[in-house]
């Protein structure tokens, strides 16, 4: 009971931070729109992209949703480093609450904020001319939950190994951008050169984006059930690993 209470309060703090940093909510919606409207329209008119009504813009729409979830989840996870610098992490870690509960509360808090952003983008589907039905809407949300939980786990895991925000640019270049670019958010994942094909399939977000594309556009490169399984396993493993690291490294984190 006390654990659930603890998980809830850590989730609640995440919500409060999300709501109170208004500029973050704004950028989290404007940035994907810029991608869709400028990049999507620009590249879409330069290449011939058949097969999907709505063309290239519609094609990258699930990808951009994936991108938004990716950025929010990983950076919120990594922001534990800031909590640590402000000393606030100590206050949480010195409480008589299980370390996995802390990680879990944080992960579902981050996931909630990421999913809210995803929902806003789903509601804006008309901008790129994609049809939204209640079923698609709900299925997409259900899918976004494990994607964001898994990526939040990645962020938390990174945070448990990093002790200053100096590493922030490194994380951007070596983790976030590769995950984004390799995920097939911006291009079809079939018929790629071999080495690229392999790395694309190693990227967990590939399965997330492909599953979203399945649901929203009705077509994907990977069977839907496989993508869903990969995403679920990914989420469980990442949360488990970061919970393990937080338990093991608690002394260093405080």
């Amino acid at each position: 009971m006390a654990e659930i209470e603890g998980i809830y309060i850590i989730w609640l703090r995440e919500m409060k931070r999300f709501v109170r940093y208004r500029s973050r909510i704004l950028t989290s919606v404007v940035t994907p729109l810029l991608w869709l409207l400028i990049f999507g329209t620009g590249l879409g008119s330069a290449i011939r992209f058949g097969g999907i009504p709505g063309g290239y813009q519609a094609f990258i729409y699930p990808g951009i949703i994936g991108q938004t979830i990716l950025f929010t989840s990983i950076f919120s996870g990594v922001s534990v480093i800031i909590d640590r610098q402000y000393g606030f992490l100590k206050e949480i870690l010195v409480a008589p609450i299980a370390r996995p509960s802390i990680v879990f509360g944080k992960a579902i808090g981050i996931s909630t904020t990421a999913v809210i952003q995803g929902i806003i983008l789903l509601l804006l589907s008309f901008v790129v001319g994609v049809q939204m039905t209640p079923l698609i809407f709900i299925a997409s949300i259900l899918l976004m939950i494990p994607i964001s939980v898994g990526l939040a786990g990645v962020g938390l895991l990174i945070a448990s190994f990093t002790d200053s925000m100096e590493g922030f640019n490194l994380i951007m270049s070596f983790v976030v951008l590769p995950i984004f670019l390799l995920s097939g958010a911006l291009f079809p994942v079939t018929g790629l050169p071999n080495f690229l094909q392999v790395t694309v399939y190693l990227d967990p977000l590939t399965y997330g984006v492909d599953a979203l594309r399945h649901i929203i556009l009705g077509q994907g490169a990977i069977p839907l059930h496989i993508s869903v399984i990969v995403i679920l396993v990914f989420a469980v493993v990442m949360v488990f690993l970061s919970a393990l690291m937080f338990s093991k490294k608690e002394q260093e984190l405080m």
Binding site: M1, A2, E5, G6, Y8, I9, L12, R13, K16, R17, R20, Y21, D83, Y86, G87, F88, K90, E91, I92, V94, A95, P96, I97, Q251, M254
Partner: protein, 313 residues
């Protein structure tokens, strides 16, 4: 006697450097216990081990009867902590900090609101309780942190340099809170400080730490008494004959003459004022004024370490 904290040769090494060296502490229940020492003496390291934040590299300690390594979780449930460095989230309000703390420590929902109001009352945040902590002054932040450490009725409250960096007025305010707290709540306070005055005013018992070692621990009064260095300053109508006669008394260690005032070095000076006045009267000398001065903890520190506490930096 009942000890709420006991350490047994607790030690912390960083590589070859020994930050805390075989410390043995016995902190009586419901006392205010001070750990006094210069910068780098090992105060934070010691307190962190007792709070389960750092693992000792040697020895052991119990807090509220629980081992700080083996029963870390029970220790955590028994204590409240105010860290030396600030540990607030600037985008939460004071009340939210207390509420979050109450949840993390499993304070039952029914009594939570009442308890938080009680604590807010004690720390006197007033209207500010519902504003973001980034708008707080240094003293308010400190008070909030002390209050937060109390929300879950801990058996022990650890305060690491509670008044560091605060102006004298705020410092005195915080002293008032700590005293009030010790009177109103059933709690032991373990605090570190490098302010002599603070240790002297607040603590029932003080341990002097230097370079990782406890040099001496006792009540401030005993520590000072042990220096055997009370000073009695007297003004009399016949200084010369008084000095001659007073030198013969065996409880007077030394006599200094300074114009019309005479300084006598004695032990336990508080018992000696009446006999000295009587003695003078018997010898036909009139005492115009008499004043007693105890040594301060600074003198104690110097006598045990050979340096003053501020030089130790």
């Amino acid at each position: 006697m009942d000890y709420i904290i006991e350490t047994n040769n607790i030690t912390k090494k960083y590589g070859d450097f020994i930050a805390v060296n075989s410390v043995n502490l016995k902190v009586p229940n419901n006392s205010v216990y001070g750990i006094l020492g210069p910068n780098g003496a090992g105060k934070t390291t010691l307190i962190s081990m007792l709070c389960t934040i750092l693992r000792p590299t040697g020895g052991s300690a119990t807090v509220n009867g629980y081992d700080v390594v083996k029963n870390a979780r029970e220790v955590r449930a028994s204590i409240g902590i105010v860290f030396q460095s600030r540990a607030l989230d600037d985008i939460l309000t004071g009340r939210e900090h207390l509420d979050m703390h109450a949840s993390l420590y499993g304070v039952p929902g029914e009594i939570r609101k009442k308890r938080i109001d009680e604590v807010l009352d004690l720390i006197d945040l007033g209207e500010k309780a519902d504003e973001y902590t980034k708008t707080y002054s240094g003293g308010m932040k400190r008070r909030l942190e002390i209050g937060r450490g109390l929300v879950h009725h801990p058996r022990v409250l650890f305060l690491d340099e509670p008044t560091l960096g605060l102006d004298p007025q705020t410092r005195e305010k915080i002293w008032e809170y700590i005293t009030k707290l010790n009177q109103e709540e059933d709690i032991t306070v373990l605090m570190t400080t490098h302010y002599m005055e603070e240790a002297d005013q607040l603590c029932d018992e003080v341990a002097i730490i230097n370079q990782g070692k406890i040099i001496k621990s006792d009540s401030p009064i005993n520590l000072k008494r042990e220096l055997k260095a009370d000073t009695i300053t007297v003004k009399v109508n016949k200084p010369e004959s008084f000095v001659q006669k007073v030198k013969t008394l065996d409880y007077v260690h030394k006599v200094f003459e300074d114009d019309s005032t005479i300084k006598l070095m004695v032990e336990r000076g508080e018992n000696l004022v009446p006999p000295l006045v009587n003695f003078a009267n018997k010898n036909g000398i009139v005492v115009e004024s008499i004043e007693l001065q105890h040594p301060n903890l600074e003198d104690v520190f110097i006598s045990y370490t050979g340096t003053s506490i501020t030089e130790g930096r």
